[in-house]
């Protein structure tokens, strides 16, 4: 289990303030900016994203590492396949 507070983040994308499917599309567009094995952090305030992005990541072969709640939003971590 990775320590989500001590990850080396290759790319952070901010999708806060957007509703579904905003965060998912931000994740989809941004993952091309990182290399295989690198980690992307997605910031979202849309509750559905907590289930949506893990499901998408699993389907696309990326690894969902988990999410961390912050004040009013949360951070999702994906490792690119």
């Amino acid at each position: 289990m990775e320590d989500l507070n001590n990850l080396k983040i290759a790319e952070t994308v901010d999708a806060r303030g957007t509703a579904c499917p905003g965060p998912l599309l931000v994740a989809k567009k941004s993952i091309v900016n990182i290399q295989s094995g690198e980690i992307m952090e997605v910031l979202s305030s849309d509750e559905g994203t907590k289930r949506d992005i893990p499901k998408w990541a699993e389907k696309k072969g990326h690894q969902f590492l988990g999410f961390v709640d912050d004040s009013g939003y949360f951070k999702i971590y994906i490792k690119k396949k």
Binding site: G17, P21, L25, A27, K60
Partner: protein
């Protein structure tokens, strides 16, 4: 091989066009190949003269103001933007039903918004539906 989705888009109201757009976004996120067949009421909304003025609801029309206000507050994109973005992200082809176009006075591709790729007949829809992994009718 990526999965294929076929969508029969009969509806031309903003609630269903928005739902169709959100579904297309999901398909795009999964790199699905999508064929959208724009049928009767949908074809009317895809005409250049109408596309920017669609504000009717097919479900619970009395909730129209609440719905439109919520879309605005939530920064939800206009329905056409969902379709446009999906086309940028994955292979989405939008076909206008020839009969539907004619019913509303749209004879040529130029009568429809730029999202439309071609005007086609029912055989193409049926073929795409048969070949698709997922077929939706909205």
């Amino acid at each position: 091989m990526e999965k294929k989705m076929c969508m029969g888009l009969f509806s031309g109201s903003i609630d269903r066009l928005t739902a169709a757009g959100v579904i297309l976004s999901g398909a795009a996120a999964h790199d699905m190949e999508v064929d959208v067949f724009v049928l009767l009421m949908g074809a009317r909304s895809f005409m250049k003269v109408n596309a920017d003025n669609i504000d009717s609801l097919s479900e619970s029309p009395q909730l129209k103001e609440e719905f439109l206000d919520s879309l605005k507050k939530l920064n939800v994109k206009p329905w056409q933007e969902f379709f446009k973005e999906a086309k940028e992200l994955t292979k989405v082809r939008i076909h206008i039903c020839g009969l539907a176009g004619k019913i509303w006075g749209g004879e040529k591709l130029e009568d429809f918004i730029g999202l439309a790729d071609d005007i086609c007949g029912i055989a193409e829809y049926i073929t795409a539906a048969q070949e698709a992994d997922l077929h939706l009718f909205i």
